[in-house]
């Protein structure tokens, strides 16, 4: 799709444990920051889409008290109960409908407030898996990791290489939780074993934080900024429940990527994409994503990593921000990939900027073992 909807502003809070800050403050900081970044006032917004979760917020209709801090008072306001990356698709559709010109998307949560691993348990089949209390986000991720390793021969040390790359990258991202410039494979292998083969440094750090992105129609975007970041393509796909699909590959990510590439006119992703921000809740998922995104052939994820191509100075850097292994606020983690990809296109990423980015890929996921995946292709002028 050619220059129909653009990203014109974005902001993230720092990620961490802000148990003594209210979620309204986090949302206000992200919303006000995004408006400042776009150089517009609240009055310019036509519609606001929040991405929060009732269970994590401990209240039904979790968006109801976010009207004030998101600047949505007396405006068209609605909510997506998934990662904010999906809210971007919804906001984009609202703009494409012609009813709205400017939309703000906000994703937020506070892991320090809710019982951290219960929301993952609540995603399970309530008449069987949930009550058995064996599956949760991490143990399910471990089954996925083992299935992938068994299918393609990836080793735990190779998988640890993703944590090393991303958490070292995060040293250049002032907002990240885990900033580890000298991390080694041995450090990852020595970290606390959770569910084999997943150790603490292979798994996302549950974080507090918020992210906001402002979208605009082409006409408005060009009025607002000289540097709009255009959405050239998007693809979204939803796979089966985790025990009812092959866990050794990310089928719905491949389908989402293929749709996004078709819309954006990308035939060779490794050649045409300059940087990718991937939503890897676990380090093995980034290797699986390389394959699903077509950066390498099936089973070649480890080889691609070891070639250095996805490092900061490689041919196709992946997760210069550190990705979701470096900071992961549920509902904001995928949205943050979009904000980070937009930063890279604009050349505003500071000490984690990749040189010469024209086309960026951003990925978001929701559900156990990356059940649903969404891919955006972004680019400048």
């Amino acid at each position: 799709m050619e220059k129909q909807v653009a990203i014109v502003g974005y902001a993230q809070t720092g990620y961490g444990s802000y148990v003594d800050a209210s979620r309204e403050i986090l949302v206000l900081e992200a919303a006000a920051g995004a408006l400042r970044s776009a150089g517009i006032s609240r009055e310019v917004l036509d519609t606001v889409v929040t991405a929060t979760n009732d269970y994590m917020d401990g209240r039904t209709i979790s968006n109801m008290r976010l009207v004030e801090p998101s600047g949505a008072w007396f405006k068209d306001e609605s909510k997506v109960e998934m990662d904010g990356a999906y809210a971007v698709l919804y906001a984009m559709m609202r703009i494409l409908s012609g009813d709205h010109d400017v939309a703000m998307v906000i994703g937020a949560s506070q892991a320090s407030v809710y019982p951290t691993y219960i929301p993952g348990v609540m995603m399970l089949d309530p008449t069987f898996d949930r009550e058995r209390w064996l599956l949760n986000e991490v143990s399910a991720g471990a089954l996925q990791a083992r299935a992938y390793m068994d299918a393609y021969g990836a080793t735990e040390e190779q998988i640890a290489g993703i944590s090393v790359k991303n958490l070292r990258n995060a040293a250049g991202n002032p907002l990240a939780v885990r900033r580890m410039p000298v991390l080694t494979v041995d450090d990852v292998m020595d970290s606390r074993m959770l569910y084999s083969p997943i150790r603490e440094l292979n798994a996302f750090p549950p974080s507090d934080g918020a992210c906001s992105v402002i979208l605009a129609s082409s006409e408005k975007a060009e009025q607002i900024t000289d540097n709009p970041v255009w959405i050239h393509g998007v693809g979204f796909s939803h796979d089966s429940y985790l025990t009812e699909r092959p866990l050794d590959k990310l089928g719905s990510l491949k389908q989402a990527a293929d749709r996004a590439y078709a819309a954006a006119g990308i035939s060779d992703a490794k050649d045409q994409v300059d940087v990718a921000e991937v939503h890897e809740n676990f380090s093995h998922e980034e290797l699986m994503a390389y394959e699903a995104l077509g950066f390498c052939g099936e089973g070649r994820g480890s080889a691609l990593l070891e070639s250095g191509a996805t490092k900061m100075n490689g041919e196709l850097p992946v997760n210069p921000s550190g990705g979701a292994l470096a900071a992961n606020a549920a509902c904001a983690a995928g949205l943050a990939r979009i904000a980070e990809a937009a930063l890279q296109v604009r050349g505003e990423a500071g000490s984690h900027q990749v040189k010469g980015v024209k086309t960026a890929l951003a990925h978001g996921q929701t559900g156990l073992c990356a059940q649903e995946n969404i891919v955006f292709i972004l680019g400048g002028e």
């Binding site: 403050i25 019982p115 064996l134 089954l143 068994d150 606390r192 025990t243």
Partner: protein, 154 residues
Amino acid sequence: MEPGGLKNVDTVEIPAVPVFSWSVGNFMEKFFDGLKDGKLMGIKCPKCGRVYLPPRMICERCFTENEEWVELPLEGTVESFTIAHVKVGDDGELEDLETPETIGMVKHKGADTCIVARIEGLDPADAGVGMRVTVVIDKSAENILDVLSHYVPC
């Protein structure tokens, strides 16, 4: 501004614990009844022949209601596994287990989907993908969900 810069002075605990009474549905009830008779019952899509275990009412691929019950062998193959060193505690955080345990994802011959349960009676270090296991049924289990108790190596 640091997000913590404008602070709430106090935190409040919200003690309400939601308790739900789910109907397991006709299909799961039949599945549990089968287990009590020592049988593992799956259900087949009339269109594509995909067999769901545990049974599901709808074949998502064909958008068809499943209807044909099939009895499956008690033996299955480990498709994936993990050695649990932690569990989710009552507070929702990961707490260390005293003794690591093996959790397996098992596919029974004739089924297209998997069951996740503990594998007992083995050293976790000996667990592997492709291992043959048998389901252990505990007909006297108090909770209906525990009738399918665990797996043991064949």
